[in-house]
């Protein structure tokens, strides 16, 4: 018996060891690194300090960037919800035989890498890109669509929208259409049915979708680098810059501050939304 259970543990051992060595230990390393003393000649100097955190939490530049990061992530989340809800509703309820195809259409961006999708937006938004060429041909002035927050937000909404739609489709599919019909037959307007039946019952889906998109948006750095091109600063792009300059201890502290602040924001949101969702179960 003992031999048998040891045999079973052997199944879990490879992944247990692999993730301990290449995930748990690295995360401990990043925590240790954030307390190390910065050095100009090596990755760090001997000894430990909390100066990195003090700087990350008091330096106006980095506080400002952190606030920008959260604001951008929140904007992306709200836009994804506003665009994703109608699509999710349509996907969940359409009797169309094209449903499978439409579902594939929503999922297919996930199969296309982030770089390629950012590239598509660069072609569209660049100063001599498709949209501006079209504007010029219509005798209209060029508009600056890229290298600013607008371009970064637009491209990230595109990249994260499928992550919003998927949980919403699941939640809306779980709502019995008879509930809506009943409300309608009792005289409720469409608007009222949406506000009093559909929306409250899909709150769990809204919650998972918004958390997923917010967390992903907080950690995005490839698209902000490509579409912001050094003119849009988020905490993640600052961290990448610090790593490139070998300012590792401060970079570690800054990335952990972002992670903890993001986590606190999500925890606060979960608490607040639990109040709205009470009585749903």
């Amino acid at each position: 018996m003992n031999g048998l259970s040891r045999g079973k543990l052997l199944l879990a051992a490879p992944i247990g060891v692999a993730l301990f060595v290449f995930l748990v230990l690295p995360y401990l390393t990043i925590v240790v690194m954030s307390f190390r003393v910065p050095s100009t000649t090596a990755a760090y100097a001997p000894g430990f300090t909390i100066a990195n955190y003090a700087k990350a939490l008091t330096d106006e530049l980095y506080i400002g960037t952190l606030v920008d990061t959260l604001r951008i992530a929140l904007t992306i989340t709200v836009i994804c919800l506003l665009l994703g809800y109608p699509v999710a509703f349509h996907l969940a309820r359409t009797p169309s035989r094209w449903r499978g195809l439409l579902y594939g259409l929503v999922l297919s961006p996930l199969l296309v890498g982030v770089v390629i999708r950012s590239f598509g937006w660069i072609i569209l938004l660049a100063n001599n890109g498709v949209i501006n060429q079209w504007l010029v041909s219509m005798d209209m002035p060029r508009v600056r669509l890229m290298y600013n927050e607008f371009g970064v937000i637009l491209a990230l909404v595109h990249i994260f929208l499928p992550f919003m739609v998927l949980p919403l489709v699941g939640a809306i599919q779980g709502i019995d259409p008879k509930l809506e019909e009943a409300a309608r037959s009792l005289g409720a307007s469409r608007r009222r049915v949406f506000l009093r039946v559909l929306l409250p019952l899909s709150l769990p889906g809204i919650q998972s979708g918004t958390i997923l998109v917010f967390v992903l948006a907080c950690g995005a750095y490839v698209t902000p680098m490509l579409l912001g091109a050094g003119r849009v600063h988020t905490t993640t792009t600052s961290v990448i810059q610090l790593l490139e300059q070998f300012l590792w201890p401060f970079g570690a502290a800054l990335s952990l501050v972002l992670a903890v602040v993001g986590l606190l924001a999500v925890a606060l949101y979960v608490r607040l939304s639990a109040r709205w969702m009470r009585g749903l179960a």
Binding site: I15, L23, L111
Partner: protein
């Protein structure tokens, strides 16, 4: 009233259609411009040409990156399948008191921000002295982010498989290894293949891990495209993008045709 309702319905469908177009537009435009004969990424395309595909397949940096990406994705996928499949069996069939904790542990690479995982690995490699001199660091990083996808797919297929089949084999005298080879594995094969497909695509498209863990001379295809785009864009990148889109789409369609595609459930 009814006119009002149909107007609302029309607006709703217009909005939904607009979002579908929004989702496809940037991808469609990359593919369209890769066949453009013009020297720059101008729109509308000026004529059909395959010159950028020729340029892509003749470009040494792009070819080196493409080959490395394929090797890396294949090796990372194979490793992830070998490690995560037994873990899924453990979780579904044997996991005891710590079952849910074990699941969380395995899914951690998916739940943690990718950029943080990449930074953590970068520091860790430096501390243990392997640095980013070789491609090994990149390979390990890719395996770590691929593991949860294989685990989720195999777990799902194990749930659909009745344990009584395995019990029957064992009661007829098959040793555990034979039971696995003759009963379990053939029945969970679609799940394993689907997991491998997801892992391959995740690795092949990955750039946020790769950019931080790149060694000297290790450039994957998405990294190469990233570098090109940072310093201006040219149509060769569009051809590279299209090749990579066709590859992933081809893999998905092949798997769908031969074993059936399964949705990813978290």
């Amino acid at each position: 009233m009814s006119a009002n309702a149909s107007l609302g319905r029309g607006l709703f469908l217009a909005l939904v259609t607009a979002v579908y177009v929004f989702l496809m537009l940037p991808i469609a435009i990359v593919v369209a411009l890769s066949f453009n004969s013009a020297r720059s990424l101008s729109f509308p395309p000026q004529g059909f040409s395959l010159r950028w595909y020729v340029a892509f397949f003749q470009s040494e940096p792009f070819m080196d990156a493409f080959v490395l990406s394929l090797w890396l994705a294949a090796l990372a996928t194979a490793t992830a399948v070998l490690i995560a499949t037994p873990a899924a069996i453990y979780y579904v069939r044997h996991g005891g008191r710590w079952r849910e904790l074990f699941r969380l542990y395995v899914l951690a690479p998916l739940l943690l921000p990718e950029i943080l995982t990449a930074i953590a690995l970068l520091f860790f490699y430096y501390e243990i002295g392997i640095g980013t001199k070789t491609v090994v660091g990149l390979y390990i990083g890719h395996v770590v982010v691929c593991l949860p996808f294989v685990f989720l797919q195999v777990t799902a297929s194990l749930y659909n498989l009745s344990p009584s089949l395995e019990e029957a084999a064992r009661s007829l005298g098959a040793v555990p290894l034979t039971t696995f080879r003759r009963i379990t594995l053939p029945l969970i094969k679609p799940g394993v293949i689907n997991g491998a497909l997801f892992a391959f695509i995740i690795s092949f498209d990955n750039v946020s891990i790769s950019l931080l863990l790149k060694g000297i001379g290790t450039t994957t295809l998405p990294m190469q495209m990233f570098d090109y785009l940072r310093w201006g864009s040219d149509p060769t990148t569009a051809a590279a993008s299209t090749v990579s889109i066709v590859m992933t789409l081809g893999a998905v369609l092949l798997v769908d045709r031969f074993v059936g595609l399964r949705a990813m459930r978290y």
